[in-house]
Symmetry: C2
Subunit: 239 residues, 2 copies
DNA sequence: CGCGCTCTTGACTAGGGTCAAGTGCAGTGG
DNA sequence: CCACTGCACTTGACCCTAGTCAAGAGCGCG
């Protein structure tokens, strides 16, 4: 593919919606802002922040979360390279979520003020971005359904299968697993359960020979059964 | 306010984002599609439907839900007059949710093909629509957090306060309650709990003199304490 | 060497689900 | 006018999933 200054990984992702023409890639270039390196555990956007920007995550993993009064953290989504941070709250008076780096990350600011011009120049770009936003939305729906309707094991498997699928779409991971730099407590907060219980579930999965999550790597051993357990449907992630 | 052919209630809602000029209202007119009356319990958009439209809900209440393999229904959001149905899935290959009328409703089809033109003519309209979409998004985040982090009573109160606030924004409801044509089983499915347990919670609320939900009407008796219980923050619903 | 992570495991508890039965309408038909 | 049916709502008794509390293991780091 074309070497793009933007962020290869982001261009690659939009490409998976529809192959972008050189003109469209050029339009994409115009929204490019400065790149920044951010170390793990630092915030990129914080809840309540007014007038924040949106960012493309170029490398590393991040998450968005909300903290309740009692201090518990609720992770809304986990982002990996190619994902957009904060796009859906730029229109709100202030950010409704905190975005935090889970590993060392590199982000690129999006010139949201130039986005409309870019859309005029390359309308299909608007389609591609909207598709990304809709996909994020579908993911959130899936998480909501997960938490209400699936038990701890189904939820766990569902999330790991989703992360794997997403990772492969941006060229991370392979046919039987992916590098997953998330601690159990992060995964637990994303699943709405305690790290202790997640740990029990992971042990069961390991002992049943279904999957192994260890040392920052997830290895799927019986993909057939896992998809069955989770009721996982790849549809909402693909074009 | 100006009498608009579009849907007074929708114009009024966008107005609460920023007062629309006559030119902007005129642009809004161009996306107008046919109106339809739909009886209660009928589907407007079904999961898996390809190439569906988006609609403005002009009157009545609706909801979007997803059904799991075991038949349980999970309501993602409840829509009232002025809300948009299916906007966020028009970009997906097929709808990821089913939209169903909860009462008799009237909907107006949105000519999504003309939406981009309308945005060119009146850019602030794009802002207003995006704001609505972001607000829906923030609501979904709030539900996700609710279900993970709040217990049955907090969740229940939170949802009822949210519905009340939204109802008042479009001119329904008053200072101490609102007409709520939802059955307990619908509310329960939206809260991720059983109708039986919701019923118990409602009884406790009634006996504690906090709120009464009966005969399609919600009456708040102690708004101060209810907001406290739910940890309710109106912020995400307002401009 | 000891501090502070994340991960692991066990024992106990409770919130909310399940099952079951019953109440109180509104609508229908005799 | 009154049975009969169906649906939404109520309430009780019981149970199970996942949370809480507590303790310990393994490991990187100053």
């Amino acid at each position: 593919m074309l070497a793009s200054n933007l962020s290869d990984i982001f261009a690659r992702k939009l490409n998976s919606y529809a192959a972008l023409t050189p003109a469209e890639l050029a339009a994409l270039e115009t929204v490019r802002g400065p790149r920044t390196l951010i170390e793990a555990d630092k915030e990129i956007i914080y809840e309540g922040q007014a007038g924040h920007s949106a960012y493309i995550l170029c490398s590393g993993w991040a998450c968005s979360y909300k903290r309740l009064a009692d201090g518990t953290r609720h992770i809304i989504e986990i982002q990996m390279p190619g994902d957009i941070l904060g796009l859906r709250s730029v229109m709100l008076p202030s950010a409704n979520l905190t975005f935090e780096a889970l590993t060392e990350i590199e982000v690129m600011k999006i010139r949201t003020d130039r986005l409309l011009d870019a859309f005029k120049a390359a309308p299909r770009l608007a389609g591609a971005i909207l598709w990304v936003a809709s996909r994020d939305d579908a993911m959130m729906v899936e998480h909501l359904v997960s938490i209400c309707g699936r038990d701890a094991m189904q939820r766990t498997v569902h999330l790991l299968l989703e992360l794997w699928t997403r990772a492969r779409l941006v060229g991370l991971g392979n046919a039987d697993g992916f590098e997953c730099p998330l601690s159990q407590s992060v995964v637990a907060d994303a699943l709405g359960m305690t790290a202790i219980h997640l740990n029990r579930v992971l042990r069961q999965l390991r002992e049943a020979g279904l999957l192994v999550f260890r040392d920052g790597h997830v290895h799927f051993q019986d993909q057939e059964r896992l998809s069955e357990i989770a009721g996982f449907d790849f549809g909402y992630l693909q074009r």
